[in-house]
Symmetry: C2
Subunit: 142 residues, 2 copies
DNA sequence: GTTGCTGCAAAGTGTTTGCACCCTG
DNA sequence: CAGGGTGCAAACACTTTGCAGCAAC
């Protein structure tokens, strides 16, 4: 059975004269199974659990494809590696990152978003995206 | 004449049994002269304009020292390199980053900060720092 | 069969580290 | 004159790329 995400990917692929491959299916599947905010390395480890001979380069290339097709977006929490987020099922949200245990709590606040728009407008600035990260300690790591 | 920042650094250095060197003075001076949000490479280029034989490693090591002494803080705007901000003279602020020309507009909004604290409290989260970046286009790059 | 895709290894990029010598305190 | 600091080059961690063979359409 094809998930909604598989269809999105397939459509993007056929629209751009690309090809659907076993590896791309695998990476997409693993990406969807993974918790949100995976790193390439983590995703690679997950993928190779079931398909041992997929290269790390393919994971990176497929992640780039997922980004282009709108299924994933790239995040950087400043820990030295990029992390990837599900974009199709999760809508936009901000993050609280526990610097002790790495836990990530997602949240959104419409008032903050509105204030951002106002501030931008006051400065003649047009927002295309934003990110709000709170760093600190979660309730388990006090 | 010693700037306030030089005094802060010297105090940190003597408090920790470290040493003041020509190179550290140079890097600090260049850092203060630079626009805010320099990268290590940019700072290195500025420094070597006047002191040609300073190593890039020294710039990195001195930046780490400036961070420890509270004069600088590390930023990451997702462009693949860390950037460094004046901390002693500038107080905390958020950023609007023009993805076209790279211009950075700084701002703060007390209501947003207050909302952040409330949201964190609701989740049992203790904030130690936060960052809010708005990406888009400035008025010159519409 | 053409053209894109893959795995591998090599190259790249930004940053850190090991080491012998140098300089500050 | 002891111990930290420096420049250099090598090492690092993460990511990207070149290439020859392979597979999808």
């Amino acid at each position: 059975m094809a998930t909604k995400e598989e269809k999105v990917l397939e459509e993007y692929i056929s629209r751009n004269n690309l090809k659907i491959t076993r590896q791309r299916r695998c990476v997409l599947k693993a990406f969807l199974d993974c918790e949100n905010h995976v790193s390439a390395e983590e995703l690679y480890n997950t993928v190779t659990e079931t398909e041992s001979n997929i290269g790390l380069a393919t994971v990176y290339r497929t992640l780039a494809l997922l980004i282009r097709s709108g299924l994933a977006s790239e995040m950087d929490f400043g820990d030295g590696q990029k992390r990837y987020e599900h974009r199709y099922k999760h809508k936009h949200h901000d993050h609280m990152i526990c610097t002790e245990c790495g836990k990530i709590i997602e949240f959104t606040n419409p008032i903050i978003e509105k204030l951002q728009d106002e501030i931008a407008a006051q400065n003649g600035f047009t927002i295309t995206s934003h990110k709000l990260d709170l760093f600190g300690n979660c309730s388990d790591c006090k």
